[in-house]
C-alpha cells in the first residue's frame, strides 16, 4: 500500500502536479470513452457526413473545455489579468507562460481523441464514404447516380444488406472500406508525428527561453496553494473562537427563558 500512498502524496503535494495528473487521467478517459462509445453510423447520404464529423470534433471541444475548467491555473490567470494594478506591475511574460501552460494541458485529451478516432477509422469511413469515386475499384458505369450514392452510404454498415447490392454484385464494398480506413490511419499517424514533433521542438527550445519565468511561476503556484491552506486554517481558528463566544452568549442570554420552562435546567448552569 506504500507505493499508492507515495503516488497519492505526490499528487497532493501541490496543485501543479495534481493538474498534471488530472490531464493524464482525462487523456486516458478519452481513450476509454471512445472505446466504450458505440459508434453507429446512420447509413443515409447526408446524415452520414454530419454524424461522422460530429463524433470526430464535438467530443474534443467538450474535452478541451473540461481541461480548461479543471485547471486551477486558468482561474489564477484570469484573476491576475483582471486585478487592479497596485504596487506590483503585471508581468506579461508570466501571463503568457501560464496561458500557454493551460492551453497545452487542456489540448492533450482532445488530441488523444482525434488521433484514436483517426487510427480506428470508423468515423472517416462513415463521414466520407459517399465522397469516394467507386470507378477506380470496379466498373460501375451501368449503375445510375442516385443508386450509387445509396450504395456508397451503406459502406460503413455491414449489417445492412441493401436490395441494390443483390443487383450489383460487383459493387466493391470491401475495397472502398479498406481505402477509406487506410487513408484515415495514415492521417492519424501523420498528425501524431506532427504533434510529437511540435512537443520535441518545444522541449528543445525550452532552455533558450528564460528559465527564471518557469521558476517564478512554480514559486507562485506553490505560494497560492499554501496561502489558501493558511487562510483556511486561520479562518477555522477565528470561526471556532467566535462560535464558542456566540454559543456561550446564547446559553447565558436564554437562561431566563429556560428557567421559566424547566426548573431543572438551573442546576446545569450552576
Amino acid at each position: 500500500m506504500d507505493r499508492f500512498a507515495n503516488i497519492f502524496r505526490y499528487f497532493q503535494s501541490n496543485s501543479e502536479s495534481m493538474m498534471n495528473g488530472i490531464c493524464g487521467i482525462l487523456a486516458l478517459a478519452s481513450i476509454r470513452i471512445y472505446n466504450s462509445f458505440q459508434f453507429i453510423c446512420p447509413c443515409l447520404p447526408i446524415y452520414n457526413t454530419i454524424y461522422g464529423i460530429g463524433v470526430m470534433f464535438l467530443p474534443p471541444i467538450i474535452l478541451f473545455l473540461c481541461g480548461v475548467i479543471v485547471n486551477k491555473h486558468s482561474l489564477l490567470m484570469l484573476e491576475e489579468w483582471q486585478r487592479p494594478e497596485g504596487y506590483r506591475s503585471k508581468d506579461a511574460s508570466l501571463l503568457s507562460y501560464m496561458f500557454l501552460a493551460v492551453v497545452q494541458r487542456a489540448a492533450l485529451s482532445p488530441a488523444v481523441w482525434l488521433v484514436v478516432c483517426l487510427l480506428d477509422g470508423k468515423c472517416v469511413v462513415c463521414a466520407f464514404s459517399t465522397s469516394v469515386d467507386p470507378s477506380r475499384f470496379a466498373n460501375m458505369s451501368e449503375c445510375p447516380g442516385e443508386e450509387l450514392l445509396s450504395l456508397l452510404s451503406k459502406v460503413p454498415c455491414k449489417d445492412l444488406p441493401s436490395e441494390h447490392l443483390q443487383h450489383h454484385l460487383t459493387f466493391p464494398r470491401n475495397a472502398v472500406y479498406r481505402y477509406l480506413r487506410s487513408i484515415s490511419q495514415a492521417l492519424g499517424w501523420t498528425i501524431l508525428l506532427l504533434l510529437i514533433l511540435a512537443a520535441f521542438l518545444a522541449r528543445c527550445f525550452k532552455p533558450c527561453s528564460k528559465h527564471v519565468i518557469f521558476l517564478q511561476s512554480r514559486y507562485w503556484s506553490n505560494y497560492i496553494d499554501i496561502e489558501q491552506s493558511t487562510f483556511e486554517e486561520t479562518c477555522c481558528e477565528h470561526a471556532r473562537a467566535f462560535a464558542r463566544h456566540s454559543v456561550s452568549q446564547f446559553f447565558h442570554s436564554n437562561l431566563a427563558d429556560l428557567k421559566t420552562h424547566c426548573s431543572g435546567m438551573a442546576d446545569l448552569t450552576g
Copy 2:
C-alpha cells in the same frame, strides 16, 4: 506488497533509474500498440507501398521522439550545451556520453517496433507485393501487365475476391504471400542479431572507455534530482512564511468591515 514497494522505491530513488523504467515501458508499449493496431492494407497499387512503408517507419520516428522527450537527460544536456561558459569549462566527453545515453534509450522502442513489424511480416507483404515477379511461382505469361499489377496488389487482402482471380485460377497468391513473409521474417531476425551484436560489442568495449565519465554523469544526475527537491522545499518555506504574513494582514484590515456587520467580533480581537 513489500516487493512492489521495493520496486517502486527503486524507480523513485533517482531520475536515472526512472528513465530506464520508462524506456522499458515504452518498448513494451510499442509491442502492445502494434498488436492492438488494426493493419488494413488498401490493396491499391501505389497506396499499398505508401501505407506499408508508412506503418513500418512513422511509428518508430514517433516513438524515438517520445523517448527523447520523456528523458530528463536530453533537457539537461541541452542546458549544459547552451549555457554561457563561466568558471566551469564545458566537458565535451561528458556531453557526448550523455548524448549517446539519450539516443540509446530512445532508440530501444523504435527498434522493438521495427523488429516486431518485420517478424509479423504484414507490412512488408503490403508494401512490396507489387514488386514481386510472379513468373517464378507459376506461368503468368498470358496475363496482361496491368491486370497482373492489380492481382499482385490484392495479395495482402484475403477478403477481396477480384473478378480477375476467377479468370486466372493459376495465380499463385499463397506462394507470393509466403515468399514475402518469409523474407520479412528473415530480415527481422537478421536485424535483431545485428542489434544484439552491436549491444554485445558496446558492452565488451565499455571497460576500455573512461570509467570516470560514467561515474561523473551519475553524480551529476543525482545532483540535479537533489537540487530540484531542495529548491522545492526552500520555495515552500518562503511561501509559507509570506502566506502567513498576508493572511494575518487580510484579517486585520478586514476587521473594520466585520465590526460593522457583527458587534460580537469586537470581543475576539480584544
Copy 3:
C-alpha cells in the same frame, strides 16, 4: 504474499542470484517467443534451407548474446582481464571459473530454443525436405529431377496445391513429412538427454574441483554490489550539501528583484 516476498528478497539480495533469475526468465521467454512466432516456410528450393536453418540457429545466437549482456559477471570478468597488472597478480583459475559460469548461464536459453525447435519439427521439415530421397517411399522414377525438387520443396506447405501435384498423384507428401518430423524429434530428445547428462556429471565432479575459487568469486561478486551502493550513498550526501548551498545562494541573489515586486517580502528577510 509472504512467499513471493521471500522469493523477491532472495533475487534482490545480491546480483548473482538476480542473474540466475534473469537466465531462468530468458529460458522461459525463449519458449514463449517460439510459440508466438509464426513459422512460415517459403516453399522454394533454396530459400527453404536458408529459412529453416536460420530460424533454428539465429535466435539461439541472439539469446546467447543476450544472456552474456545481461550477466554482470561478464563485464566484471572483462574488467579484471583488461586491467593493468599492479600489485595484485591476475588469477587465471578465477577468470576461467567466471568465464565458464557466464557461458553456462548464457547457454541455457539457446539450448531450450534448440530443443523446443527440434521437438516441434517444423524447422527441420522446412530445411531438409529437398534433401530427402522420395524413392524409398514411392516409385517416382518417371518424374524429372527439377519437377521432383519443386514437389519436395512444397512438402512443408499444406495450403499450396501445385499443378504438378495433380499430375503426380503418387507423390508421398505425408510420408516425407512424417519421416522428417520423427527424425527431428528423435534428435531433440537425444540432445536433451546429452545436456542433462553433462549437467549431471558437472554436478557430480564439482566437489573434486577447488572450492576456494568458488568462495572467492562469491566474495568478489558481493563486494562489487556493496561498493556500488556505498558509492551511490556518498554521491547523494555530497550532492545534497552542494545543492543546499546553491539554492540558498539563488534565493539571496534574487531577493533584490523580489523586494521591488512585493514590499511584504522585506519582513521575511529581516
